[in-house]
Amino acid sequence: MLTYKNRNTFLQRLHPVSGLTIILLYLLIFISVNNPIYLLLAALSVVFLAYIDGCMQEILKYGKLIFPFALLIIILNPLMVHNGNTVLYEGHINFPVIGAIRITMEAVMFGILSGIRVIFVTIIFGFGNLIIHPDRMFAFFLKYVKKSALLMSMTLRLFPAIMQSYKNIVDAERLRGSKLFDKKFINKAKSYGNVVNILFLSSLEDSAEMAESMYSRGYGMKLKRTSYFYEKLSFWDVVILIYAICIYIYIIYFLKQGLNRFEFYPTVDNPLRNISYHGILICLLLYIPSLLNWGWKVWK
């Protein structure tokens, strides 16, 4: 579930560096771009790319997984942030921590955009998980960033095991009367805290056993580790890398020129008014990998 499975697709056959470059490109866009229209266009291009690659359902599951957290951001932001000129509601009772409630259109919009951004970032991480083979990535990056590569690879491999463990713990807690499905948020949060605590302790114990197994097979013993498979750049890797470098440069130009301007406070900007030709062009260029993927699929 939600992990790399061999599907022998265009993106999966790419060199790990090329796969990672695409993912980082999207990450850059989802983190730096402010106009919701650009963000939606970029997200649509990811969904389209995943559709052609045959993993659309999986990436949407990632979105579903993070949705409650995004919802929390959407709800909390207007309650906590009182800035903004367009007041939608103003209360008179002083609550502890948050003070008197003052909900503004700007805070609502900022909350929505932040929630959407969290969903998109999660989706793109999930997409990376589905298109980059963790072992290939581990073998390649091990030469440069030894321990981090191992950590990254093992995290990806252990994800299904952790998910299974999470399910089992939730089942055990339910059968012990834990208030996981209680109507009160506090009870629910406390119960899920217990689940996370058990999951953390179990994962820690498991990792100690795994580390011993690695140690007894000589991991970290030699300074130079050899590689069973050699990764070579293919023609399509070169195409993707050149494409990505061009887009990176274009995005930097776009940001430097101030075309990313979109203000929420004191009054939220109209996203349609802030649209620029360069922004639209960048978004359209993001559909090129989808076209390459489609072309490869048709003519392979």
């Binding site: 992990t3 790399y4 499975k5 061999n6 083979h133 963790p134 072992d135 581990f138 073998a139 690879s153 093992m154 990806l156 491999r157 299904p160 095991a161 463990s165 089992n168 713990i169 089942d171 055990a172 339910r174 059968l175 012990r176 009367g177 834990s178 208030k179 499905f181 217990n194 689940v195 605590n197 058990i198 302790l201 179990s202 114990e205 498991d206 056993e209 795994m210 011993e212 197994s213 690695m214 140690y215 007894s216 097979r217 000589g218 991991y219 970290g220 013993m221 030699k222 130079k224 580790r225 050899t226 590689s227 069973y228 498979f229 050699y230």
Partner: protein, 549 residues
């Protein structure tokens, strides 16, 4: 030629005053297959970790004495020299596999040791053929069965071509088929390839007869040595012997068989009276399952038209291959899965009408991994947790349950610091503290030694005598045969057999305990106690006939 020599070794784990092993002296010859056995916590695993210097290098602690590898003091060797000579396979298949591809996983150790690509390719390809892993080599390690994973772990070690391979309970977590596959691989490595093997194991029925030599340990010390056909007289404990050997030993026999074939040979000329089998009669039905069907995915039916009843005081064993639907069936009954069709009635009431608190009072479900339960700081808090959740906390009740499972002396300890058997008992106490009418135990004997199993069996019997109904989902046929009343066999989501254990297990081809196989065509017997009585009686009968003659 002697390849391992352990001289006067005593070891203390860090921050621990007790000796984990004490005054160990052991010599292992080249090409030997040595089995090390003993109860949980006796120091078996610690002992073999001395040989690849994981103890003390990885664990720390204090060590006294010397370990020699091929005549050289292990302290003077570089770690990569040790690793090239000594490989180690661990207990849990999931926790020793690092990578996702089978082929890459097998090459992991070779990459670490800096082998060149050609050598790696050759070793990997040879090991894949040697361990018959061709059919899984293109699959991902997450998709493999337990037995396949364990064989991949063995392959990953064998690819480095070590002369000595250490196995730390390699079959304890596997089902019978997986265990058989792994034991066959170990035999092959020793017999056909001359590898020196040290095997630590508690499931002795599977491996006792393949050993050249057996080391018996207790409380950190080697108490005796023997061979399968020459077991020292002082070795009588259940955890030191395979079940069949233990039975013949208890019956006072001079010849101690170590497998079914030898046992059948030993009794071939004897006649046996009909065993005293008392079939418990059950009156009050507590659980009724009617026309139960379930599918995880549309069109993929996991359970089909299941019908059965469970009675008050009944101990039911549920067996079947992996994926037969056993755990799914009882997760539905425990209220963890909802969207099924059919009816499940407990004491005449449909479980769909129960809220979670009612379910907890009716059904206790113990999952396979006790660690899934432990998040509190002490055993006492852990056992109290369920009662606090259902607002029925009662200190006396918690203490009673702790006493019942003989864990009251552990009440201030962290449950995660306990041994496997103790953890299982704490998890069981957590389940039973709510006083459910039905107790469902999913693979409760996995990883337990013979004594822990015996204790669990006695607890189960005691609970049944108090009117609890127990469901045991297990692959451990021999354990089930000793303690259960009835058996249900599942296959492909259907119930294919249901009845009293003697009727089902004696006629079974595969799901038959070793005892039944020994007495096959002579008399119907499934449990150890009856088997001991039968052998004893037949011995006296034979002696009487000889006197008369």
């Amino acid at each position: 030629m002697e390849v391992i020599n352990i001289q006067d070794v005593t070891y203390w784990y860090p921050d621990c005053n007790n000796r984990a092993i004490e005054d160990i002296n052991l010599k292992i010859n080249e090409g030997e297959l040595v089995l090390i056995t003993g109860p949980s916590g006796c120091g078996k695993s610690t002992l073999i970790r001395l040989i690849n210097r994981v103890i003390p290098d990885y664990y720390g602690g204090k060590i006294k004495g010397n370990v020699y590898l091929n005549g050289r003091d292990i302290v003077s060797l570089k770690m990569d020299e040790i690793i090239k000579n000594v490989g180690m396979v661990y207990q849990h298949p999931e926790k020793q596999i690092i990578l996702q591809d089978v082929e890459r996983e097998i090459a992991f150790g070779l990459e670490n040791l800096g082998f060149d690509v050609n050598k790696m390719k050759r070793n990997v390809c040879e090991v894949i053929s040697l361990l018959a892993l061709n059919f899984v080599k293109n699959r991902q390690t997450t998709e493999l069965s337990g037995g396949e994973k364990q064989r991949v772990a063995i392959a990953s070690v064998v690819s480095m071509n070590p002369e000595i391979i250490l196995f730390d309970e390699p079959i304890s977590q596997l089902d019978p088929i997986g265990a058989e596959e792994v034991i066959n691989s170990i035999k092959k490595l020793n017999r056909d390839f001359g590898k020196t093997i040290l095997l630590v194991e508690q499931r002795l029925d599977k491996c006792f007869d393949i050993a050249d030599r057996i080391i018996f340990m207790e409380k950190g010390k080697i108490i005796a040595e023997g061979t399968p056909n020459k077991i020292p007289k002082e070795i009588k404990s259940r955890y030191h012997l395979p079940n069949i050997t233990y039975i013949f030993n208890q019956a006072g026999e001079n010849f101690l068989p170590v497998n079914v074939k030898q046992a059948r040979e030993a009794i071939k000329d004897r006649t046996f009276s009909k065993p005293d089998i008392v079939k418990k009669s059950f009156n009050e039905s507590i659980l009724e399952v009617e026309k139960l069907s379930f599918e995880y995915e549309k069109g993929l039916r996991t359970l089909r038209n299941i019908n059965f009843q469970l009675h008050k005081g009944e101990i039911l064993c549920v067996m079947g291959e992996n994926g037969a639907g056993k755990s799914t069936l009882f997760k539905i009954i425990a209220g963890l899965i909802k969207d099924y069709t059919g009816n499940i009635l407990i004491s005449g009431k449909n479980i769909k009408k129960f809220d979670i608190f009612e379910t907890i009072k009716k059904i206790g479900y113990l999952s396979q991994n006790p660690n899934d339960y432990f998040g509190r700081k002490t055993v006492f808090e852990e056992v109290s947790y369920t009662l606090k959740n259902i607002d029925e906390f009662n200190e006396k009740r918690v203490k009673d349950v702790l006493r019942l499972f003989d864990i009251d002396h552990l009440k201030e300890k962290n449950p995660r610091d306990l041994s496997g058997g103790e953890k299982q008992r704490v998890a069981l106490a957590c389940t039973l503290v709510a006083d459910p009418q039905i107790l469902i135990l999913d693979e409760p004997t996995r990883g337990m030694d013979a004594v822990a199993k015996e204790n669990l069996g006695e607890i189960i019997k005691k609970l049944a005598s108090q009117g609890k109904s127990i469901v045991l989902i297990t692959h451990d046929v021999d354990f089930a045969a000793d303690y259960v009343d009835t058996v249900l066999i599942m296959f492909g989501g259907e119930v294919v057999a249901r009845g009293y254990k003697d009727d089902i297990l004696c006629d079974a081809i595969y799901y038959s305990p070793q005892i039944s196989k020994v007495f096959k065509n002579k008399c119907k017997v499934t449990d150890s106690k009856n088997a001991i009585n039968l052998i004893l009686k037949s011995k006296y009968k034979d002696a009487g006939e000889q006197n008369e003659a």
